[in-house]
Symmetry: C2
Subunit: 276 residues, 2 copies
C-alpha cells in the first residue's frame, strides 16, 4: 500500500493503478464504517484509494476542529488491513494551493437541516470533495448513508459537474444501534449508554410509517416521544423530508428521509433512516 502526500506523488502513484478506481474520502479516525466502504470499493473496483484529510473549511466551530480525533498510524493500519492500494494524506496546502479562492457550492439542498444548523459547513464539504474528485479522478467514490444530507449534496455536485459516480453505502451500527461515527469517541460512559435511543427513536418513526401513518408531523412526534424518554438527549431537530429535495413534508407521499440531530453533552450526533 502506497502512502503519498503531495499532489505530484499522488499523480505518480495513481498512474500505476488499474481501473476502475474507487475512492473512499475520509477525515481519518477510521472505524468499521470506513472499513465497510473500503471493502465495498475493493469488491467493485480495480484499485482503491483512501484520502485522509481533516478539512478545516467544513468546521463552522474552531473548537470542534481542534478536538476532532486524529491518529494517522492506526488509520493507515486499518486501510492496509481493509485492502486499500493507496492512501493520500495531504497537508492543508496540498489540498488548497497558495492563493486558493474557489468555492463549489450546492444551493437548495443545503438550506435545511445540517445546512441551517452549521453555516458554511456544506460549502466546505462540497468544495473539498470537488477538489478530491478533480485531483484523484476516481471512477466511483463511496460514502455512508449516516451523513444523509452530505451524501445527497455530494451526489448532486458530482452529477452536476459530470465527475465521479457517488455510491451510497448503508450505515454501519454498533450492536445496540448507535451509528458509527468518529465523534462517538467523545461520548462519556453515561452518554454512550444513552445514545442508542437515537436509533430506537428512528425505528419507532419508521414503524409508524410502516403501519400506514402518512402524516409527517405524527411521525416526527413519534420520534420525539422516544427521545423524550432519555433525559440526557438534547434534541436539536427532528425532520421528515422528501428523500430527493430534503424539503420538509406535511404528507409522506413518496420516499422520505427521517433524520435528527441530538446533543449528548458537548457531543452532537446525527442519524437518519429512509422511509420508502
Amino acid at each position: 500500500m502506497d502512502v503519498v502526500r503531495s499532489r505530484a506523488e499522488l499523480h505518480h502513484a495513481l498512474a500505476a493503478l488499474p481501473r476502475p478506481l474507487g475512492l473512499v474520502p475520509t477525515m481519518g479516525w477510521l472505524h468499521a464504517g470506513h472499513r465497510s466502504l473500503i471493502a465495498r470499493a475493493r469488491d467493485e473496483c480495480g484499485a482503491v484509494a483512501v484520502s485522509i484529510f481533516v478539512n478545516p473549511r467544513q468546521f463552522d466551530d474552531p473548537a470542534d476542529l481542534a478536538k476532532y480525533p486524529r491518529g494517522e498510524a492506526r488509520d493507515l493500519a486499518l486501510c492496509a488491513d481493509a485492502g486499500a492500494d493507496l492512501v493520500w494524506v495531504p497537508s492543508v496546502d496540498d489540498v488548497y494551493p497558495p492563493g486558493f479562492d474557489t468555492s463549489v457550492t450546492v444551493d437548495r439542498l443545503t438550506l435545511p437541516l445540517e445546512g441551517a444548523a452549521r453555516p458554511g459547513h456544506f460549502a466546505g464539504v462540497s468544495t473539498v470533495v470537488a477538489i478530491l474528485f478533480a485531483v484523484v479522478r476516481p471512477d466511483r467514490a463511496y460514502f455512508g448513508e449516516k451523513d444523509g444530507q452530505q451524501l445527497r449534496v455530494i451526489d448532486r455536485m458530482a452529477r452536476d459537474l459530470g465527475i465521479t459516480e457517488v455510491v451510497r453505502c448503508p450505515t454501519v451500527r454498533e450492536r445496540d444501534g448507535l451509528a458509527l461515527s468518529s465523534r462517538n469517541v467523545h461520548l462519556g460512559a453515561d452518554d454512550r449508554a444513552a445514545a442508542p435511543v437515537i436509533h430506537r427513536a428512528l425505528l419507532a418513526g419508521r414503524a409508524a410509517w410502516a403501519s400506514g401513518e402518512r402524516d409527517a408531523a405524527v411521525i416526527r412526534g413519534r420520534v420525539g416521544d422516544v427521545l423524550a424518554t432519555e433525559p440526557r438527549a438534547d434534541v436539536e431537530y427532528i425532520s421528515c423530508a422528501d428523500d430527493a429535495t430534503l424539503a420538509e413534508l406535511e404528507r409522506i407521499e413518496g420516499p422520505a428521509m427521517l433524520s435528527l440531530a441530538v446533543r449528548f453533552g458537548a457531543t452532537r450526533l446525527i442519524d437518519n433512516i429512509r422511509l420508502g
Copy 2:
C-alpha cells in the same frame, strides 16, 4: 470532424481521440480570435475539441442574451477549417442536468471590474467552465487574453480544483487595433469607425508606463485623455490593477493589467493590455 450533442455522444467520441486533448470553449459566432486558439491547440495537442454553448447563466441582462449572435453552420465550418477534431454543441439540458443545483465560484478575484459591473456574471462563467472541464477532461484549455479578468478567474478555478492547464493566448486584433469580439457585430458603422480609440488609449497608457511613469492614477488619466477625444465613447471604467490579484493600484511596482470597459451606443466593449 465529429459534431456531438449529448454527454453520452461526447464521451464516446472523446474515447477515440489521441492525447493530450486541447479544449477551446466558446459561445459561438466564431472569429479569427477563436481560429487562433484552435490553431494553437492544434500545434500543442494530439487532438482538439471545441465547445459551442451560449451559456444563459453568465448573462446578467436577458436582453444581452437574446441578442447574442448565433450561427451554428458557419461556426462548424470555421472549426473544420481550423483543424478541430470534435465539436460539442450541447443543449442547455446537456450542460445543466435536471435539478441542477451547483455553483463554482471564485471569490476575491471576481469582486472588481467586470465582477462589479455584471453581478453574477463570473459565477456563471466559472460554473460552466468547471462543468466543461469536468465533462470533457481536457489536458489543456485555451483562452484569449482579451477577457483578462475572465482568464484569471478561470485559471484560478482550474488550479484550485486541480483540473486542466489553462493556456493564455494573445488577443487577436483587427488591423486598426480593435480587439476581435463576437459583440463587434453589433457596432454600427460610425461606432465601428470610432472603436479603435480603445486600443490607442491602452497603448498611450503603456507608453507612459514604458517611459517610467509609475503613478497608476497618471496612467489611468492618460488612457482617459485619449478616450475623451472620441465623443461616441462612453467610458464605464479605466483600471490599472495588480496583474495577479486585480487589486487597483496606486503605484505600479510589478506586473499590472491596464483594462477598460467602454460603451458605444448599446454595445459594451472591454479590452486590456499588460504592463510588465
